[in-house]
Symmetry: C2
Subunit: 243 residues, 2 copies
């Protein structure tokens, strides 16, 4: 359907994949719109891992490795876009992988857990309870999973839940292409990068970082600096956009 | 479903409406993603009509009123978001309203034509032919409609078709929140504003502009200036984003 000579071919093919996942119920309709927002910001950072994003990815790796009980929270968009990358990161850092949805039904949870298992992830499952201080379906999580985690990685998450998790005293690592979002600003650490670039970069850092590097990254974590660097990248790009 | 205390309540409700329209087939799945991209840029311009956007809207009105055969091209997203606004603009400027889709089926065309008629628009219909120099379904249009138009208003359009229409010698008015998009840069005039703010502003200008103002607007049209002003608004906002 999409002509290969279309200048946004790759982006259109990804959208088509998400659309297919939406028809199957894996991706919420609202998830398609959220993806579009991400696309816009990815375009603005040049569709590449910036220097500050790489620093954030290395710091994320150090946090996951230093954690007692790290959890990776997965929603429909993340599973549709990056199930394999989630499985690889789990292997590299040993985190629990738990499915948590905004538009939650038991059927969707099961569908997404299956996608993750098929991609090679070990999925934490069992009965969920309404444990997070939130008014919607994302209050649901597992007592021995996210509820007792000390570090939670939330790729493609909304601000509400990020804030709730931080309020519970957890260290939260967000992957969010919008450096101005509530998620980005409330998280302990924000990786401003596209999820299929960010997750492998974090996994790579998990394998490669020395003890010394890890400790330096943890002690110099400055999320405000990382966000302002992301914004600087965008404004620099914008200022030459019409050349 | 969406809690009214959610800080992005309005935006989520609009997304939910689009999701419903997607389930009914009016909005293409890919249209949801495109909407998300628009949302991101709307956020960056402050979710308001900027001064330069208002100038663009007044110029658009002058172009539509000066045209011999103005056509407003409507796709699924525009019909879902702004059918009434299209009908009102048609009353104000006398343009032909014609449905043109990227993801085209006869059923979708009929559905969208019905939405527009229900909102009070007079819809140009009849057999379409593959008349535009494009490799996909959007080549389809009507010989006595868009094909012979001298001025075409394309809200929420893609760059491909914008370029094709300009290449056919038509004056193209785009409504596009992304000032960097191909659509925005290829159009004769680009309105960088959200469609439900832009269309009523153009209709208002159609009713209010004096002959003198119209002629001044037409003679001073400078799309590069309008786009650089939109970018300046975004960078100004970004530079204070973390304050």
């Amino acid at each position: 359907m999409i002509p290969p000579d279309h200048p946004r071919y790759r982006s259109l093919v990804t959208r088509e994949r998400l659309a297919r996942c939406a028809k199957e119920g894996v991706v919420a309709m609202e998830g398609l719109t959220a993806h579009g927002r991400g696309e816009a910001f990815d375009y603005l950072i040049g569709e590449r891992t910036t220097e500050s994003a790489l620093l954030a990815e290395q710091t994320a790796a150090a946090m996951l490795l230093a954690a007692t009980r790290p959890v990776i929270s997965v929603n429909g968009n993340t599973a549709a876009l990056a199930a394999q990358e989630i499985a690889e990161l789990q292997k590299a850092c040993g985190a629990i992988v738990e499915v948590n949805l905004f538009h939650r039904t038991e059927a969707r949870v099961a569908q997404i857990e299956k996608i993750l298992r098929d991609a090679g992830a070990e999925v934490f499952f069992g009965p969920a309870e309404q444990l997070l201080p939130l008014s919607h379906d994302r209050a649901w999580c597992r007592r021995e999973g996210m509820y007792t985690a000390d570090v939670v990685l939330i790729p493609l998450e909304d601000g509400d839940r990020c804030e709730a998790l931080v309020g519970m005293g957890k260290k939260v690592i967000a992957i969010d292409l919008n450096p101005l979002s509530r998620t980005a600003r409330k998280a302990t650490l924000t990786v401003v990068d596209e999820v299929t670039r960010a997750l492998p970069a974090i996994a790579r850092a998990c394998r490669d970082l020395s003890a010394e590097e890890k400790s330096r990254l943890l002690s110099t974590l400055d999320n405000h600096y990382l966000l302002s660097e992301a914004i600087r990248e965008i404004t620099a790009r914008l200022s030459h956009a019409l050349d």
